[in-house]
Symmetry: C2
Subunit: 227 residues, 2 copies
Amino acid sequence: MRKDAEALFYTTDRRDATLAPPTLTISDDTLTDRQKDVLDAALALLVHGGDGLTMTGVARRASCSKETLYKWFGDRDGLLTATVQWQASKVRMVPVDRESLDGRTLAIALEKFGRDWLSVLTGDISVALNRLAVSHAGQEKRNLGRIVLENGPIGMSKRCKPLLEAAREAGLLRFEDSDQAFRTFFGLVVRDTQIRMLLGEQRRPTEEAIATQARRAREQFFTLYGA
Amino acid sequence: MRKDAEALFYTTDRRDATLAPPTLTISDDTLTDRQKDVLDAALALLVHGGDGLTMTGVARRASCSKETLYKWFGDRDGLLTATVQWQASKVRMVPVDRESLDGRTLAIALEKFGRDWLSVLTGDISVALNRLAVSHAGQEKRNLGRIVLENGPIGMSKRCKPLLEAAREAGLLRFEDSDQAFRTFFGLVVRDTQIRMLLGEQRRPTEEAIATQARRAREQFFTLYGA
DNA sequence: AACGCGGCGTACCGTACGGTACGGTTCGGT
DNA sequence: ACCGAACCGTACCGTACGGTACGCCGCGTT
């Protein structure tokens, strides 16, 4: 099925299963500008309504030929995967520096974390991407779900846990399991917001509502885990 | 497009939009046993993998003719809607009686709430249904998302809030906004469990893990809102 | 100037699936 | 015994879409 040795990503017919896909992220420079344009077109179509993201549609929108799409991305799944990875590569949260950690900086960091997270989660692109990944996960195609997971909860966890642990060592927080602590924080921040957006609830929280919620989550988290 | 006056549910071409669909739930007796069989077949296919849920597939699995499907349910969306409603009508949580409310019974009620909720959420059927609804929500079809929402977070909220308010009146809890309180409880219970399952994470929590989590959520909720 | 390559646009093919039509069968009512 | 309604099974149609093939152009190389 795959024969063109130049295809960027090999997505289909992995018969060894089980193992992680070869690449979870696209380094920003594996893509030419033209390819980025194409992926942005795909993103735009995806956001505009999950359907409509058809090979012909992408080709038309990006003013390129379907043949080029297939040459670059192999097949439809390849294009989708690349699109998700491309978006993921754009959203890089700044890591928090663990130096100069006191109650105040920790609070600020956590609250900012929550705000950023909620902003991303409720954004059109994130909603569209998560919808796509969720759909895909229901069809033995685990790729996209994996990627979104890695750039969603798991990524958030990886960036957050060191901070929590540093805070514990600094005597600011008290918990046994940093994973449990993180997940509690996640719950306090996100609550039912994401699932409601995914299920089509129209109302998107304002920036102010997000800020309020992040602050409340931070307060509650401190109540539960503060030393 | 629709012409058969006998179709159970009118799903398509509602040009008035905005308003809620005529029925959000199927009363258990609007369906004949045969129809229930058909919907169960659809559910089975849906759980087995989001694709495969094709009209021909349902017909074959339920040993009925496609014509009958169309006569009963109008079109594909009608079948899906009916399927989701049918499942929703099966999962009826017992409401908690608000009499004899003290700290202990409240704790037990909340914890059981959390356990039941997590069990449902992580079940195959719930995951499949939520995936379907999420997919649909990405395609201007707001029906399914609406129904799942109503039987998910919103339904949970409707059943939970009276309990919380009763507990507040009994002096057991302290909060301003019962909605905020509920959503916090939701967050403490669900955390990132649901989104991870939806995105295809294989590991499904054991009954024991669920019980542990429900207990922790209850404890944390009391810490935050206990009087 | 000649050539080749990468890419655009379009036409084309195969298939899967939603939806319809129709003949045959069962079954309840009269 | 007869009739009609409901329903099964299957064949059929139209379309949408994934994937392929091909002609053409623009451009860099020699």
